[in-house]
């Protein structure tokens, strides 16, 4: 009976030419995650964004999601299934979904797609990413102020541009305070293995490192820092629970505002394919509370954050030399986005040899 009434009202609305149908049938905004929605890191950050828009738009939208979707042929099937099931907008949230999303987007021109962290787009396929490196510059500055032995260790996953960019930005921030700062990089060759991440962290602490930063997904390194009484930075999520005395701050991914903006555009009919790469000023990237540090360091960090937000400071501003001493950026010159997104070299001061990527 309810259904019939609903159908009648919908038809009536359509006849009258009312666009009120949106209220009766929620628009489907769908998500694809590479991990579980409670992984404590990357996929969870996206899911928090999903929950935020579900709350904001209420019964105007529905937000089904698929989790643990492996990158590869399965991804294409999963995305296509969503496209067939009546999704108006699909967010595919992992770099490895890029080609699958491109293929499905070509097949379903009426459905809109958004791919996170990729570089291929189309008329109905937008891309979005976050300038994580802006946050890492602040971490570097804090590390340079708080380390007793002018150095830190960077627990890194894979030698892809995103991670190399993070390492360089951290070092650049540190060198702006302490030119003799040395950054040790230790590769674990995994995004997700708490045991290995902890092993790497312990090895670095045993070698006398007193600041840890990580570019991997679990809180294990933070836990090691807490146990051994040194400091560390959270990654992707606020990790203060794992390191109440250890965490100095964290770079936190908050996709919710971006998702909200895009769903607004979808509902207004103003959605366009764009390539979005926002940072601190747009709120897509947030800094965790500045804790466990002296007031002057906290003040410096807040000032740097404000300067990055206002555009006064760009982390990659010359003069910067490459690791071998050859010049990269002249004084005052800023790095362009293309170079950053394909970054495959270290800057001066990084104490590591870059493993060949690919």
């Amino acid at each position: 009976m309810k259904k019939l009434a609903l159908a009648l009202t919908t038809t009536a609305a359509a006849i009258v030419g009312f666009a009120a149908a949106a209220e009766a049938a929620p628009t489907k905004v769908c998500f694809v995650y590479v991990g579980s929605h409670t992984d404590g890191g990357y996929s969870q950050a996206h899911d928090l964004g999903r929950q935020q828009i579900q709350k904001e738009f209420g019964n105007k939208i529905e937000t089904p999601y698929l989790e643990n979707v492996p990158e590869g042929p399965d991804a294409e099937r999963a995305i296509e299934r969503l496209a067939r099931s009546g999704c108006s907008l699909i967010f595919s949230t992992s770099f490895g979904f890029m080609d699958a999303t491109v293929k499905v987007a070509a097949k379903f021109p009426k459905v809109k797609f958004e791919h996170a962290t990729g570089f291929k787009s189309g008329p109905n396929l937008a891309t979005y990413n976050s300038r994580f490196y802006e946050g890492r510059y602040i971490l570097g500055q804090i590390a340079a102020k708080t380390s007793k032995n002018h150095g830190a260790a960077y627990i890194a996953s894979f030698p892809i541009p995103e991670v190399v960019m993070g390492i360089n930005s951290f070092e650049q921030g540190a060198r702006s305070i302490d030119p003799s700062f040395k950054l040790k990089v230790v590769w674990v060759n995994t995004w997700f293995d708490p045991g290995k991440e902890a092993d790497a962290a312990k090895a670095m602490v045993d070698q006398g490192v007193d600041i840890l930063t990580q570019h991997t997904d679990t809180t294990a390194p933070m836990q090691v820092a807490e146990e051994r009484g040194i400091h560390a930075f959270g990654q992707a999520s606020d990790m203060i629970k794992a390191g109440p005395k250890a965490q100095l701050t964290a770079i936190i991914d908050t996709w919710g505002n971006y998702y909200s903006k895009r769903v607004h555009a979808l509902l207004d009919g103003t959605w366009k394919s764009e390539q979005s790469w926002d940072g601190l000023k747009d709120g897509i990237l947030k800094m965790g509370d500045y804790t466990n540090m002296p007031d002057d360091v906290k003040k410096m960090a807040q000032e740097t954050e404000a300067k990055i937000k206002s555009g006064e400071l760009a982390p990659f501003t010359g003069p910067i030399n490459k690791q071998d001493g050859t010049p990269w950026l002249k004084a005052g010159e800023k790095a362009d986005d293309g170079t950053l997104l394909g970054m495959n070299f270290y800057i001066e001061g990084v104490d590591d040899k870059l493993p060949a990527s690919k």
């Binding site: 991990g35 404590g40 090895a203 679990t218 809180t219 836990q223 590591d352």
Partner: protein, 306 residues
């Protein structure tokens, strides 16, 4: 504490779960059953231990729930392969997949909850002996259990009557049956022992190694264990040696990176696997001895005549 001591302690933590799960699987395989579900049993042990410790507030209760969880989960494998005579390889693989999924479901509410840590036991006086003290007498319970398991399994398999029967079942279940040994019962007990050990290894992961729960946190250690048992040619001491070698190379390659050794990190990441295989292949060069050690009925189903 010197750097050397610190490195040694980290190696012990990294190796202990491999040794424990390996010794368990060794007993299972010696009874003629091939259980490829170690990874699944380890992760079930990890989540059971974490949840148990959270609810009770005691890491020792957690340790116990981990062991019981692993054993109960292995019972499912036992029922399917021993009673219903399903294919052991396929059932073992299914057990791993089920374990990973089930543990994720059980642990859903426990992600990013601060863990209860199993702390080391300090023996007065003994712990103060330079070097030996911290390494041998300031460890958590799982390390002592791993040593006890090594001694116990060795004694049981090669010195006890029950162990002789178990090996007989593994070598020729038909003959063992003819001699009046209850093959199915023996194998059930062995499978449950293996499950309990895998559960204990999982408990070590979520209470000692990294005191937290995250999905898939076993990260392939169960598979490493399975390889260790085969390459160790079903000898307990070699499982121990292989486990420690694997742990040592894992930790040392991070130190090598930290000290700036110019070797590609991908190569260093591979080293634990490669070196363990190479060393275990070398020590099991004696083909005759290896053949004698290989349980002849391994992986074969037994259906008693009625």
């Amino acid at each position: 504490m010197s750097v050397f001591e610190a490195i040694l302690l980290t190696i012990i933590t990294a190796s202990t779960p491999l040794v424990i799960a390996g010794l368990g699987e060794l007993v299972v395989e010696r009874s003629g059953v091939l259980n490829l579900g170690v990874e699944g049993m380890v992760i079930i042990g990890a989540v059971a231990a974490f949840v148990g410790a959270q609810i009770s507030g005691s890491p020792y209760v957690g340790l116990l729930t981990g062991i019981v969880g692993g054993a109960l989960f292995s019972l499912l494998f036992g029922f399917l392969t021993l009673t219903l005579v399903t294919n052991q390889v396929a059932t073992g693989l299914a057990l791993t997949i089920l374990g990973l999924g089930l543990s994720g479901m059980i642990g859903e509410g426990y992600v990013s909850v601060p863990g209860v840590q199993l702390h080391e036991i300090v023996f007065p006086l003994l712990s103060d002996i330079p070097f030996l003290g911290p390494v041998l007498f300031r460890q958590d319970l799982t390390f002592y259990l791993s040593i006890a398991l090594l001694v116990g399994v060795n004694w049981f398999l090669f010195r006890s009557r029950a162990g002789l029967k178990l090996r007989a079942v593994g070598d020729s279940h038909g003959s063992a049956h003819a001699l009046g040994i209850d093959v199915i019962r023996t194998r059930y007990l062995a499978v449950m022992f293996g499950g309990a050990c895998a559960g204990l290894a999982g408990a070590q992961l979520s209470l000692v190694y990294t005191p937290q729960w995250v999905e898939n946190m076993s990260a392939g250690r169960g598979w490493v264990t399975l390889a260790l048992v085969v390459f160790a040619s079903w000898r307990p001491m070699r499982v121990m040696a292989g486990g420690y070698l694997f742990g040592a190379v894992t930790i040392l390659q991070f130190h090598a990176q930290g000290f700036g050794v110019g070797i590609p990190s991908q190569f260093l990441s591979m080293l634990p696997y490669a070196s363990t295989i190479v060393v275990l292949v070398i020590i099991s060069q004696n083909r005759r001895a290896t053949l004698i050690n290989t349980p002849a009925s391994l992986g074969k189903a037994f259906v008693p005549e009625r």
